[in-house]
């Protein structure tokens, strides 16, 4: 069944600060959308807003899935409706094993509980395809995982949950060259088998070259300022974003500098000085 995710004039704030200033995006089944742009311009905010992170407030605009209001759905319902966010910084959850977590998640989206045997077989297959360690099922979620293992684990979850729309937030960061290929192969296979649609945030053409996006978008200052096909990805890879800033007469955004305090000889002193 062909599905469509539509984002219209989306404005999103964090606290008092407006991050997204009117985003329009339409993604249909089988399409791969590359989302590019310098750091701090709203790419992750867009993906988190679609998934429903409570820290991001949608102040106006709409997100619809086949005409259904996504903004009215709680996060878990969005997931069961077919959305999946592979996070840039996956959580570590000690005490809960990957297999218990995933089996609960698989059961949450099906009317009948999946048999333990069938689930274990599917999980073993996914683990093999992603060339992960055999004991993964019995390890706690991302606990003690390397950065690359965490990212692969996100893809493993996606393979088990079989969403219709995957939002991949810098899923290639932390992966070595071989792992990038393994992850891209798994995504392409999922696309072939299920018609998975993807919105892919990445800074690297190498990853996009393995996925071959059908559409590409550049976000600057909370707006989609340029759209195209795979050629746009290649242009950004070779020329960066300066040409776009010049064309749009925009100044590159200054990222907030971290505040650095000297604690002196004792942190207690700073506490006293600051009252």
């Amino acid at each position: 069944m062909s599905r469509v995710l539509t984002v219209k004039d989306l404005h999103v704030s964090v606290g008092d600060k407006e991050i997204l200033k009117g985003i329009d995006l339409t993604v249909r089944s089988g399409e791969i959308h590359a989302l590019m742009g310098p750091n701090g311009n709203g790419k992750s905010t867009l993906l988190q807003s679609i998934m429903g992170h409570p820290a991001y407030t949608v102040t106006s605009g709409t997100i619809e899935l086949d005409g259904e209001d996504v903004l009215a759905m709680p996060v878990d319902q969005r997931s069961r409706a077919g959305l999946f966010l592979a996070m840039q910084y996956p959580q570590e959850i000690a005490g809960v094993t990957n297999s218990d977590f995933l089996r609960a998640a698989v059961n949450a989206r099906s009317e009948e509980a999946v048999s333990v045997f069938k689930f274990a077989r599917q999980m073993d297959k996914a683990i093999r395809e992603l060339k992960m360690k055999e004991d993964l099922a019995h390890r706690f979620i991302n606990d003690g995982f390397s950065g690359g293992e965490k990212k692969r684990n996100e893809i493993l979850q996606m393979m088990m949950l079989k969403p219709d729309f995957a939002l991949l937030d810098e899923i290639d960061s932390g992966l070595d060259i071989d792992a990038i290929k393994i992850v891209a192969d798994a995504l392409n296979k999922q696309l072939e088998e299920t018609g998975l649609s993807m919105i892919v945030v990445s800074h690297y053409e190498r990853f996009f070259s393995l996925l071959k996006p059908t559409h590409s978008h550049i976000i600057l200052d909370g707006r989609v300022v340029c759209e195209g096909d795979y050629e746009l990805v290649e242009k950004v890879d070779s020329e960066g974003y300066d040409w776009l800033y010049e064309e749009l007469k925009l100044e590159p955004k200054q990222l907030a500098k971290p505040l650095v305090y000297s604690l002196g000889v004792c942190a207690h002193n700073l506490g006293i000085r600051n009252g």
Partner: protein
């Protein structure tokens, strides 16, 4: 004696028992005097009305490992006083799910040289609950090379009425090893969001988190006849209480 006992009054454990599962559902008292060997006790407290459990014992030239599991939503008053004497080792692991009120007090004494006490307590305190945990480790004068280590951790869900965890060490000897650690906190919102984003409701996520936090690995209890079965039943209990 059988290695599985349901007790409702007084049980005296002797040296002959190496691996014993106790099911407590009424006011009870456990007494033991262990003078040799390695002993394991799995104490499952499953009560439908308020229960008091008293325990007194001493261990000398022996090793005792006790695991307490209390996940029922009824009240519990538990008091244990254990003497650990020369060349004896005591390991205590306790797990509490607190829905109403639970009061737990451990008085553990290193009475002699080369005695060792290790105690780890884990609790999940639900909305409106009262939990009072006192762990008092005492190393008496002359108990050279004694060890006493305590760890307590409490997870809160919602707003418990009262959570008091008091780790105390009384040390009257210089040549010892001792430590205590305590942590308490609630579930990270980002963890819940992560689990929600995989399709789990808040309740389904909480059940998994509480089970993971609270239930010991049942494979550690394969040696107990009835032990694994009881643990599996306790797992269902967590599901029921957290889903309410």
């Amino acid at each position: 004696m059988a290695d599985y006992v349901e007790i409702d009054s007084i049980l005296t454990v002797g040296n002959g028992d190496s691996c014993l599962t106790l099911l407590i559902s009424e006011d009870s008292e456990i007494r033991y005097e262990l003078t040799e060997g390695f002993h394991e006790l799995l104490v499952v407290i499953r009560n439908e009305h308020p229960v008091t459990l008293k325990e007194t014992g001493y261990v000398v030239n022996a090793e005792l490992k006790i695991t307490y599991i209390s996940l029922s939503d009824s009240e519990l008053n538990q008091q244990a006083e254990i003497d650990v004497r020369e060349h004896a080792k005591l390991t205590v692991d306790s797990y509490y799910l607190v829905d109403k009120k639970k009061t737990v007090r451990f008085d553990l004494f290193n009475r002699c040289p080369d005695s060792a006490v290790y105690i780890t307590n884990s609790a999940v305190c639900l909305d409106g609950s009262v939990f009072d945990l006192n762990v008092i480790g005492t190393i008496v004068k002359g108990a050279k090379r004694a060890k006493c280590h305590q760890t307590s951790r409490c997870l809160t869900i919602g707003k418990p009425k009262k959570l008091r965890a008091d780790p105390v060490l009384k040390i009257d000897e210089n040549d010892v090893e001792a430590s205590h650690a305590l942590s308490s906190g609630t579930i990270d919102d980002d963890v819940l969001y992560y689990m929600n984003s995989r399709g789990l409701t808040r309740k389904e996520a909480l059940v998994l988190l509480v089970q993971g936090y609270l239930l010991p690995d049942s494979s550690d209890f394969q040696q107990f006849e009835k032990g694994v079965e009881l643990l599996n039943e306790e797992e269902e209990k967590v599901q029921r209480i957290c889903s309410m």
